[in-house]
Point group: C2
Chain length 221, copies 2
DNA sequence: TTGTGTACCGACCGAACATTCGGTTAGCGT
DNA sequence: ACGCTAACCGAATGTTCGGTCGGTACACAA
């Protein structure tokens, strides 16, 4: 057996050492599998191939891990709202863009967004996350309102209700979508925007305004 | 002060005694507020106005409470699928009916359904619930497939994907809908079915087939 | 009066929990 | 050779958890 003078197994270069990011990446997956509350630091340590106490070398505690994860998810989501709006496009086009890009971000940052959406407002970290989600909601509702005023989006439903249905559908993707499962993000976001904007009964090619209203059909990746 | 010979406060008839159902009703609300895992039996006892040990007089444990709750939710949901299909209606009409009735059931049994949808498959109770949810999903996907074959529902999207989007939207209601908040179930289910079947850009009155396709517009309650 | 069943309680228990502490190890600059 | 630091560890600490136990209080029936 290959042993050191101390008799303990050689660790040297079996795996690169952890830093905050690589540790968080693993932690978030475990949190999603077992649920944040049900995941013990012991569970986490086992999965990392570390001892419990070593985790505290990288982060202050369990809650900081949660904070880092939901922070990352919120940043990615807000970035979508702030993407350059090309000044002259309609609110409807922007809304469609925000929905599509949100699906893409959700897919790209799936474990982080999943964790964010499951937060229940117990600790301070969680309450801050919920506050940010409400802010996101408000800005989308604003966009819906302007789109309705433009006339290319139905105005018989309250804008706030529309934005809740919209992002209810988008957010529900975390419950089943797995990027490695064969369904591409492009096909997914096409299907989702098609159903939400044109309806289940809509003919595939139908559109409701000038072609410019649908500027960002995704290319297959 | 009104005291008994024992010097302890009078309990008699201050509140009706609990049975399994009334206890469950409170428990489910607390589970949803704090999350099942984060809710201790102590939390529960405090909210019930009981001691921890008294809870065990009514139920075998925490997990039985969860089981009772998700069982009740699943029963209510499956009942919708088994409602008499009037033999001659189209699959599209039945699909629309199932979506609308699911919204109604979700609203009527909100705390129970909420708990069901948050179950993560850790214990046996939770795994059984998830198995039942998959069965529900399968039956809806079947319905979508038949509707697509009928031609009144778009067939450029996989039936299973459609059913996931449909029930993703429906299920997302538990994240924000509160029956006491002024929005009636009728308005909600009208809005939801309108967006999903006719699209955000759809004109309010448009329909895609014969009027019989939309047989169950809800009356205001 | 005595017995029975339902509803309830305080004191307690072992296990699991997040976190802390006092270290060791290995690589690197000097 | 020396000291420094990042990365890591085993063994504890105090706390909280779900659950148990041996009772009491009281309505009601015989």
């Amino acid at each position: 057996m290959n042993t050191r003078p101390t008799g303990r197994p050689v660790r040297h270069r079996e795996r690169p050492p952890y830093d905050r990011d690589s540790l968080l990446e693993v932690a978030v997956v475990v949190f999603n599998e077992r649920g944040y509350d049900r995941t013990s630091m012991e569970d986490l340590a086992r999965r990392l191939g570390l001892s419990k106490s070593s985790i505290y070398h990288h982060v202050a505690g369990k809650e900081e891990l949660l904070g880092l994860a939901v922070g990352r998810a919120m940043d990615a989501l807000f970035a979508v709202l702030d993407e350059d709006p090309a000044a002259d496009t309609t609110a409807t086009a922007r809304l469609r863009h925000v929905v599509r890009r949100s699906v893409e971000v959700l897919a790209a940052e799936l474990p982080y967004v999943t964790l964010l959406l499951r937060v229940r407002g117990n600790s301070g970290v969680e309450r801050r996350a919920q506050e940010q989600r409400r802010e996101f909601d408000r800005r989308v509702a604003e966009l819906v309102e302007r789109a309705a005023t433009e006339g290319s989006v139905r105005d018989d439903i309250e804008p706030h209700l529309v934005s809740r249905l919209l992002f209810g559908t988008v957010n529900s993707l975390v419950e089943w979508y797995r990027p490695e499962g064969g369904l591409s993000v492009a096909v997914l976001s096409d299907a989702l925007t098609a159903v939400l904007f044109d309806g289940l009964t809509g003919r595939p090619a139908r559109r409701s305004g000038p072609a410019a209203d649908i500027p960002d059909r995704a290319a297959p990746n």
